[in-house]
Symmetry: C2
Subunit: 274 residues, 2 copies
Amino acid sequence: MIDASLPVAMFDSGVGGLTVLHECLVALPQEDYLYLGDTAMFPYGERDPAELRRRIALIVAKLLERGAKLLVIACNTATAIGEEVAREVAAKYGVEVVPVVAPQAEIAAAITDNGRVGVLATTNTVESGAYRRALEAEGRGLDVIEVAAPRLAPFIQEGSLFDEETMAMARGYCAPLRKAGVDTLILGCTHFPLVAPMLQRILGRNVRLVSGGHAVAAAIQRTLEGSGLAREGDDEGTYEFFCTGPVSSFGDVATRFLQMPLGEVRQVEFTVPA
Amino acid sequence: MIDASLPVAMFDSGVGGLTVLHECLVALPQEDYLYLGDTAMFPYGERDPAELRRRIALIVAKLLERGAKLLVIACNTATAIGEEVAREVAAKYGVEVVPVVAPQAEIAAAITDNGRVGVLATTNTVESGAYRRALEAEGRGLDVIEVAAPRLAPFIQEGSLFDEETMAMARGYCAPLRKAGVDTLILGCTHFPLVAPMLQRILGRNVRLVSGGHAVAAAIQRTLEGSGLAREGDDEGTYEFFCTGPVSSFGDVATRFLQMPLGEVRQVEFTVPA
């Protein structure tokens, strides 16, 4: 039985989804949250799509078996590749799904002045064409410039130091966006808002960065209220963290980025069906 | 001779002023910057005001002797306690000064809906009354709720991990602001934007945080353009970092927060006149 007392479940390949969780904790602090970082499979961005879909189906089932009232795909690659399978599995549990791609595309289409919108994402997300379709569906005849940035999420996930090589990598990814004159850039991976200062500096102040977190938190609120599952009251909810890879590296990077203690992070093991 | 080719000089007690430098690098990337973190004297927030004024006079003189076209006080405590002495010294070199308090007060007064504005700052800044005066000067009859947060800048400067004790400290500082129902909070120390996510979570989405960086970068641009000292062209400027305490801890924390390599950070030693 799905009721308002259950937690909101969300997953990502690693710490990127914490940028979504953060916005949820700001906007909907009274809810309980369950967060899974599938760090054993990180990065999703370069994995075989069929393998990823099997993995996503398994994760969704495991999370919803624990009990959750909503499933948030806090990962752009998982949304681009596996939104459909996630919805199929969640439907068996009677649970709705909130993805990350569509809410961002809507905002970007609304705020661009010159109609040139960039998308910085993983290889899988770019190749899926999910953002291009979502932006074209807005019907504004937008120019969409997509750039695959395969090395950026791993850099963030590892908590590496910013050095000259990092800057050269980031400048390289931004060069075609600058050349195309985009005035709006979708950060099409939930990891990327964590390096928004670096990207903003490279792109300059005339480019607006669109992160997913805020839009997704709003979509979560609408969905919960629409289905009568929002929790009432002023009490602060709880949160639980799980990851599939080593606990310590996840905990360190996550604590720094989320700026709060995580409590005990528990490791869970999944066997991916062949 | 002051000309457009000279760098913009700025100083802070530590890494906090980097939040101002970051906005400058986004808005005015063609300028050269000279940044001094007076880490040997950190934290300014609890120092004797007379001692601080002597220190500030010395720093301003040393920076301007190296050659600079503008002096930015990228520290709220130094602005609150020493703006006047900084202006006196800078005037001898024919250099204008941009402080951090006034530009923020202007923004906060403009955006508050309910007229209740909070100020989170160091003990020295609160006791100086600088924000209260600046907010009252806006003539909107604002309620000003000031909270001294002496432990927050040291926590940030040390690059410490977020744990339960950190959260309790931050919740304690935020409690009187929540109770007073402020809808706008001035982050009255340049260190504090670095923990904006934590503060935003504690205060909730209905409180708007006002950082100094953006307003100060705009003030710097206006001042440079007004005096014909803005640098033309698209070339990216250079930056140099100095600190008065140990180099390594400054470099590590600064690199992480600024999200860029600093190059060689040089240690300079000052003898404070008695």
